[in-house]
Symmetry: C2
């Protein structure tokens, strides 16, 4: 198969580099000293019988985190980051994720719990492994790297050649070539990327084979790792032979099942090897990789790209080893695994030759210059083994005083880092915080989520066969088309709510003093506010809180308002405070009080200092990347201060509340205060009724209430509805400035998928 | 009750003029000669047991058209117009609406069918009336004018007085005053507005009481009209006495029921008079008014306003007649009714006095100057009876050669006028045509419709307790919130449709020649179109209809595209024609072909002449007020002609099709051609599937199809989906340029109210 030739001749470089990627990362949950936990898999991750992202491998303590397939590696690593953040923030406070492949601080055998899976076969299989390999070996972790070539590439190459008649055979041979060359040259990747130079001595059943201060390149890939009996040799010469030899070892009892064959390459596409002959190999799984402890989540993007290019080289090369070559590769791997990581490898020449081949391939296919540079860096590591990952790791272990200690240190660091922006999903930070929160909960609960449009906050959710779409965090199929249209139109909203019997303030506009005064009788005895249509700093506003009682006062207020504008409004005045009710279905889930930007004096600090101090709150930021906003000290705030006879340099008295804004928006530094539990039930019921009248499944209802402790009365002096909002904000409830957090995204998920849990 | 005084003192003029109005207009269906039809009430008007707008009165032939209550008279008259248009366009071709109150060309008694109502009591009541009054009198028609004072006025007045302790009593007395003064002075309205000077002699059982050439002011209000036995005197002195006397007449058998009391004022608010004492009179019904044949729909807005002010005067006046005064009013009415319409009335002085009172009231309450002027015009009619409505009518009858003939002439005129813009509902022409069409169907079928926001096309529909909202003709609760959001986002739409297995064309963008050519292998063998991202007059476009077969051709096309823009697109090319599928629920209801603006040559006329000729089509107009648009001859059309080697002065050969636009939009003069029946079923099913995949209840699906007669194949060479649209246009299907009309608004109604019919 002259793949290289065809790709060059037909300039298929772009297509050659396309593909699909998936990562599966195992790791141990550990305590803060790095020792493996003895607790069960956390309940909050839902049921492992379906969880697409968070599974356990061999033991209850051994997490397996799985990214969905992606067309590019950037996305795979974003997913890896997101899943890690979910796990790290969900673990008990005293649990961490161990960043190294070899387990440290192993409990005694009887305390290592085999994963408690629903399927009895899965459990039986694990029990068998315990018999064959012992529990400790099973606790070793790694990263599995799944790669699929673009089907269009395979199709194009097939069309361009004449040798093979069957498209499936062609595809199988292509992947077999990749697998065989990988097995032949895998030691090169091991040399560059291995990271298991040592382990605590209690890992070994007997005494440690490593002397004090002795290190190897990869315990995990050595005979001390989790590898098959060396007697088990499986042929990769053809799929037929592959299937036959696997069946042979299962029949002979050396393997309990085909899946017990732990090759560093697995052929994927069918459960039984024999079925691959008909179905075709769909993708390959590479299982060689140790966790990289210097990376927060076990593998860097650059290394992931390097591995991609490396496996492409495996079909680019004109050579294809026979079974003898494959065995040569395996024994060379075993050898290199036990080399001293700070010494040069015995096979340096072959390694350098291979990376030079890789460079020439990358140049031929028009890969990024950065990819070529990265290979050159790796190339230099043959001359200087101290630069390899394992070389660096050994030096670090020496410095930090031991393997477990180093691992524990990183584990604590990475967990702390995952909490830095605890309200966000860092990898998806270009989306709205509410969508990030929703994705967090979906990943945690094990509902598949696909981002259909990142900028548009458009998600596709799937659980079993059940598909839902969500936009902007809570726009879903549960709302009808007409209900946001009603809410969008304030006139229609008022009419609908009024007809349904809710207290809706009325307003009337006038264009002349005479006309307004002629309308006096419309407002007599009513509590109204008279104001210019375009209000400016509150000028021209008169409030008749006790009702208008005589024409003269009314006329005077009208005249004052007309001094500021050519149109005025007479509006029902509502006595009380505005609250936001978040309604979902039959329930008011959260009630929020929004307080204008403010500081509380301490008699010592200036306004400016108090603002700076308040702005250090972790939820406050400048843009849209935090749930709350910093208080500014701009013109509007200074004017507000001036009205109170203050400047930024004033020192407010102790407990003096200084308001810095007239408006209560969170976006201008306002405080959000959850008062769900304080609010009288009757208003919560009213909010539900209002949402129902709008036909809304999710609705943000703004009520003005005169006394939140007293039951609602039927007139405007008790309460009134100001607005009903579709797609209401959730972050201010999830992360309020004060009061209890209400995790509304979970309610959205329950609404969409009542069958989950 | 010094109402006048209170209103003046407290400047309640504005509130005094507010109120609620409703009109009920009876009229006979007639043939084109003006003779009453013998056909049944048309089936298309649905069931009279619930119809809010279109009922029958006494006979099957006698329509009763009812406007909903409105806060202003303009709206009442708009509704009257709309209901008339619905009726006139729904009647059989040979039926019309008679514009005069007295029926002409009456069939013989046995051919006059009493209204076939569901309720046996209603039918029995009508049978009784036949016995008491004879059928002919029952066939007389009029307009009933319902008026309610603003409840806030009544409340305010009540608060300002001390005499009465009970608010209900106060309200009842206010309305009673209005009723009594009305009965006292109604002859003035009769003098000014009556329009039944004569009738064909067969109306009378015996010979006509009118000599040849003899006319009266109002046969309808005279003893020859439909009036109670003069013996039946009902007291209006108090509600108690009113109820008592009515009960007496029913008990005595003079009236079969209270409703048989045909006073020109009816007290409304309860079925039984006695219940009014507790419930309160809610509004008054004035039944005096003859149809005005000079008005298309029986009453002018100016007269309706005049009547409003007249009834307000009835409580403004300080006087309140006793029962004697009421009886005086009744006898004066009977007298004036039989006066010669061209002679001055015997009571001119009282009439002029009353109208002067009216003028002074209007000035006191700050009414429009136009209202005062209108009363002055009416005032002048006392001096010149020929200017009264009846005076003018008599002259017209003389000129046109008879009562029936004149009526028939108007009836034909008004029906023709109602067809002038047959695709619109003239009174609601500031709304979209599709909303007008929907309202037409709702009025016809008898589903209540309220306009919540006219500019926003927001309707509230109600049938029994079932309420629905509609925006823009087909945005309803039947669609989910998420489905228009999916359709709004083209990327998401593509992903959803692709995932669901539909043929979706793909496209890729490139920013350099090199990058595009590197992507060659992605497009090999595919039918694609290569084009600059911003296309301009089709420059730089290359189409590979048979698939790209070599790199050189591809590279050349890429270079050509890059000459026009800095970005190019390579897009799957779809062979075929674009069709719009209108899907509702499980069905494709309409399929439309849109053809770019064009004319067909005749070998005689120039392009300009042919365009002008095509533009005379009744569906074509300039703005948004017609379903189709006129073809322009602007720069774009002239450039299009130039490309074909033509100018506006060219004379195309016979049958030569000259295209004037590249785009097929209806809005630029395109033709809409219904091809629903020609389209192969398989595509209609695909369109339904596509709408379903979007979760849409109503969806406009744009497919490109290579051959509409051949069944759909699974690949893009057979068909592809271009777009799915929410809130799809309906007018182009309802009023296509060619092919069958599809009345989609009816399907929308059936979807919302499956229980109707």
């Amino acid at each position: 198969m002259k793949i290289q030739h065809l790709i060059k001749q037909h300039q298929l470089g772009l297509l050659f580099q396309q593909g699909s990627f998936g990562l599966e990362k195992e790791s141990q949950r550990v305590y803060q000293d790095g020792s493996v936990v003895t607790t069960e898999h956390p309940k909050c991750f839902g049921n492992r019988s379906y969880h697409p992202y968070i599974q356990t491998d061999f033991a209850e303590s051994q997490l397996e985190l799985i990214t969905p397939p992606n067309k590019n590696l950037e996305d795979s690593l974003r997913w890896l980051s997101a899943i890690h953040e979910v796990v790290l923030r969900s673990l008990p406070e005293d649990e961490f994720i161990f960043p190294l492949s070899m387990p440290a601080g192993l409990p005694s055998d009887e305390l290592i719990k085999v994963a408690q899976l629903d399927n009895p076969e899965d459990v039986a299989y694990r029990e068998h492994l315990v018999q064959s390999y012992g529990k400790n070996k099973q606790m070793v972790s790694g990263i599995h790297y799944n790669f699929q070539l673009d089907p269009a590439l395979i199709q194009t190459l097939f069309n361009l050649q004449q040798e093979q008649k069957s498209a499936v055979d062609f595809q199988n041979n292509l992947y077999l070539k990749m697998a065989k060359n990988f097995l032949r040259y895998q030691w090169v990747l091991l040399y560059l990327l291995s990271a298991t130079p040592t382990v605590e001595s209690n890992y070994f059943k007997g005494s440690s084979p490593l002397g004090k201060g002795e290190y190897v390149r990869s315990l995990r890939s050595s005979k001390y790792g989790y590898v098959n009996d060396p007697e088990v040799i499986v042929s990769f010469d053809s799929l037929e032979q592959y299937a036959e030899s696997l069946e042979h070892w299962v029949k002979s009892g050396k393997l309990i099942a085909e899946k017990e064959f732990y090759s560093n390459v697995r052929l994927r596409g069918a459960k039984k090897a024999r079925d691959l002959i008909q179905n075709g190999i769909k993708y390959l799984e590479f299982r060689l990789f140790d966790l990289n402890p210097f990376e927060q989540y076990g593998m860097s993007l650059a290394d992931a790209r390097f591995i991609h290019h490396f496996v492409l080289l495996m079909i680019w090369l004109d050579e294809m080893p026979d079974q003898q070559g494959v065995e040569l590769g395996r024994s060379r791997l075993a050898e290199v695994a036990l080399e001293n990581p700070l010494a040069q490898t015995a096979y340096r020449e072959e390694g350098e030759w291979l990376l030079n081949q890789l460079i020439s391939m990358l140049q031929s296919i028009g890969a990024d210059q950065s990819a070529v540079s990265f290979v050159r860096e790796k190339l230099a590591q043959f001359a200087d083994p101290g630069l390899t990952l394992c070389g660096r790791l050994v030096q670090e272990i020496e410095q930090k005083g031991g393997y477990q200690k180093l691992g524990a240190m990183f584990a604590r660091q990475y967990k702390a880092k995952a909490f830095e922006r605890f309200y966000a999903l860092t990898a998806f930070d270009n989306m709205e915080l509410s969508t990030q929160a929703l994705m967090f909960d979906l990943i945690q609960q094990g509902i598949s989520v696909e981002i259909l449009d990142e900028r548009d906050q458009f998600l596709r959710l799937q659980f079993g066969e059940h598909v839902e779409y969500v936009k902007n965090g809570n726009m879903t199929s549960k709302d009808s088309y007409i209900s946001p249209l009603i809410m969008e139109n304030k006139v229609v909203t008022k009419k609908v709510l009024e007809k349904a019997g809710f207290n809706v303030p009325q307003s009337q506009e006038f264009t002349s003093v005479k006309q307004a005064i002629a309308g006096y009788s419309l407002f007599e005895k009513r509590a109204v506010v008279i104001k210019p249509k375009s209000t400016n700093y509150g000028l021209g506003i008169t409030i008749f809180q006790q009702g208008v009682n005589n024409r003269e006062d009314f006329a005077k207020a009208v005249e004052i308002a007309f001094r500021e504008d050519k149109e005025i409004m007479v509006e029902d005045y509502l006595v009380g405070t505005e609250y936001r009710f978040f309604v979902l279905g039959e329930e008011t889930l959260a009630v929020l009080l929004r307080v204008p930007a403010n500081i509380v004096g301490d008699g010592i600090h200036t306004v400016a200092e108090l603002v700076a101090q308040k702005n250090t709150h972790p939820l406050r930021g400048d843009g849209s990347r935090t749930p709350l906003k910093k208080i500014a000290l701009g013109d509007i705030e200074q004017l507000q201060l001036k009205e109170q006879g203050l400047t930024v340099e004033s020192i407010p008295a102790k407990d003096q509340i200084v308001q810095l804004r007239a408006n209560s928006n969170i976006s201008t530094g306002g405080d959000s205060i959850d008062i769900t539990d304080e609010m009288h039930l009757s208003y919560k019921q009213l909010a539900v009724g209002i949402a129902k009248a709008m036909g809304a499944a999710v609705c943000g209802v703004d009520l003005i209430i005169s006394d939140l402790k007293e039951p609602a009365q039927p007139d405007l002096s008790s309460w009134g509805v100001i607005e009903a909002n579709f797609n209401p904000m959730m972050m201010m409830h999830i992360f309020p400035y004060a009061g209890q957090s209400r995790r509304l995204t979970r309610n959205v998920i329950n609404m969409l998928f009542p069958e989950v849990k």
